[in-house]
Symmetry: C2
Subunit: 362 residues, 2 copies
């Protein structure tokens, strides 16, 4: 049985996140930075990176794991690159500043590459790549993250889901890849568990290193399987991509890395995550980039599908479909469990609860 859902307008989610972060001690501008990223994630259908994460961010501010007031510092700057220390600030604050700096450099030098350390979970990676693509750049970002993935052949979670996002502008179109380097993120498993559903084989292992289809076991073990799955179907490539991200994040910036990053929800100290932010100016290369990109995307979309009822989509299309649905509906839908936990959060923080209404069916 599908769990009961609740409807709320986008603006109300934005209001609630901003007030919650402010009540926890975050300056208004930074609270708004956080609200923009979370609302965007839910609007795009990345519900594992939206309002459901607010409780974690608030807790990290309240228990001092994250400093909500600090501003990042540029500690090294050379030509087209810079190293930024996030000073343990909020991920979206660090991320926005870094991608803006990358774009400044790209305007001058064709490309800008900023590595950040001392950062925190920055939400949906696509937020930052799209920030660049919206201004005509190819935007690329990746982040290391709390250990949740086994390396190929491995039993223990010693790598993060280490997402990578690439966004590029077309003509009234865009490419937005935003992917964990595991088969799926933990959030997708959590959604299955919330609905008492099994997970497909290939998503997670149990503590013994065997694939599991039990969503409870998967959540408790926290051992996600790299993209590619088995040896025969090149699971080592998923681990290779996760390590590539780790090298461009933790190793490049001097942040924490691999199993030395604190576990999710742990309050043992700062996460000290590493991230990379790259902006590339297509106009510094061949003219008419947008035309070619739009053409390529259309050619792929209109290529013959195996099953005519399942058309070919390019990265960003599922999110566009979800955003249309949100626009038609006039707002977002949330599960009963999340609404209940947000009600408690509002009481704890003494702010107005999220205004929402139950839907009889979804």
């Amino acid at each position: 049985m599908a769990a009961k859902k609740y409807f709320t307008p986008l603006q109300e989610v934005y209001r609630f996140v901003t007030e919650a972060m402010m009540a926890a001690g975050t300056p208004e501008l930074y609270a708004q930075n956080m609200a923009e990223v979370l609302v965007s994630a839910d609007r795009r259908g990345h519900t594992s990176h939206g309002l459901n994460r607010l409780g974690i961010y608030v807790a990290e501010v309240l228990n001092g794991t994250t400093d909500p007031c600090t501003t990042p510092t540029i500690i090294q700057d050379k030509g087209a690159v810079a190293l930024v220390d996030g000073n343990n600030g909020l991920g979206p604050v660090v991320g926005n500043i870094c991608m803006d700096l990358a774009m400044e450099k790209a305007k001058q030098m064709g490309v800008g590459w900023i590595a950040a350390r001392g950062s925190n979970h920055y939400g949906m990676a696509g937020w930052y790549s799209m920030r660049a693509a919206d201004k005509g750049f190819v935007g690329i970002t990746c982040s290391n993250s709390s250990p949740l993935a086994v390396p190929h052949r491995g039993k223990k979670a010693v790598l993060g889901t280490n997402p990578i996002s690439v966004a590029a502008p077309g003509n009234n179109d865009s490419f937005v890849l935003d992917m964990a380097t595991t088969a799926v993120s933990l959030g997708k498993i959590d959604i299955q568990r919330a609905e008492n559903a099994k997970i497909p084989a290939g998503w997670a292992q149990d503590f013994e290193g065997k694939e599991t289809t039990n969503s409870d076991t998967a959540m408790i073990a926290g051992c996600l399987i790299p993209l590619g799955r088995t040896e025969e179907t090149s699971g080592y490539k998923g681990t290779g991509l996760a390590l590539m991200v780790e090298i461009l994040c933790g190793i490049l910036s001097g942040a924490n890395y691999g199993p030395f990053i604190k576990k999710l929800k742990s309050t043992t100290g700062p996460a000290n995550l590493g991230q990379s932010f790259i902006a590339l100016d297509p106009s510094a290369f061949a003219p008419h980039f947008e035309d070619r990109l739009s053409h390529l995307l259309e050619v792929i979309r209109t290529s013959q599908p195996v099953d005519p009822t399942k058309p070919i989509l390019v990265a960003g299309d599922p999110e566009r479909i979800h955003m249309s649905q949100v626009t038609c509906r006039g707002g977002l839908l949330y599960h009963h469990g999340l609404i209940r936990s947000l009600l408690k959060l509002a009481m704890d923080l003494q702010i107005n609860p999220l205004q929402c209404k139950p839907l009889s069916s979804c």
Copy 2:
């Protein structure tokens, strides 16, 4: 029954490739460029990108599809980036010049990003990333390629295997990711076919869009499956990565792209491939990059495996193992079928045949 194999020293392969390319009309230096890449691929165990490809490269020179004498031109240069026209030259000639230019820029500006068009198949992508890593940079390269991959949900091959390689230097260690964005490259299927063996499910589709385990069918259809395989295990991510490569190659540089690239072995005209070459100077970021990288790699390698007989490897380890075997053995092993085709090539080009001796068993 395993096919009969032949042994030959590295130096002899280098001699043979150089002479074959020169006999086809390639200047000595450029012929040597080609020989270095092919010998390196076979030495590393990437046998799908070694001597077995020589016949194709020679044919492309002889039939005028590739211009073996031309030199690439820088057609746009701005700060840390440049656009290079390969002028339809040999892939390794274009690739070496572009990665060297990227390193020059990285020395000055922390990063260099070169996009090339008018290029040809450049062999093993890892050659170029390692060229940068050997000099202390993080090297990244990717290339588009002849259509051989279906997009996720698709029936037709409209994308290339679009490889990406990332190499980074450690202390007496390195990370070398070199991967097609399909589950496997066509070469791996060809190797199975040469041994009359089936292929694992998840590598290729037949003309109807069904997965096939028949290596003949797979070679004839030429429809490779993206990394991730099914919808449930995120096959769309493999397609997303292939499109990312296409955007950073064909779209960025103004080269051919997607299904508009000529088919493998077609002589209808220049391939006009697009490629990107990126060098990143880790010393422009946080000090002690190599120490951290070596530590990370050791932590992953020594993490607990599911099966103690299958230790965890990082990208570059399988190649290191293969190179040790080559060193012990004193040279390379080739299948009877390849040796036979090279004998014919030597006769056609009127050069000394590859000197090799049969092994009684392998």
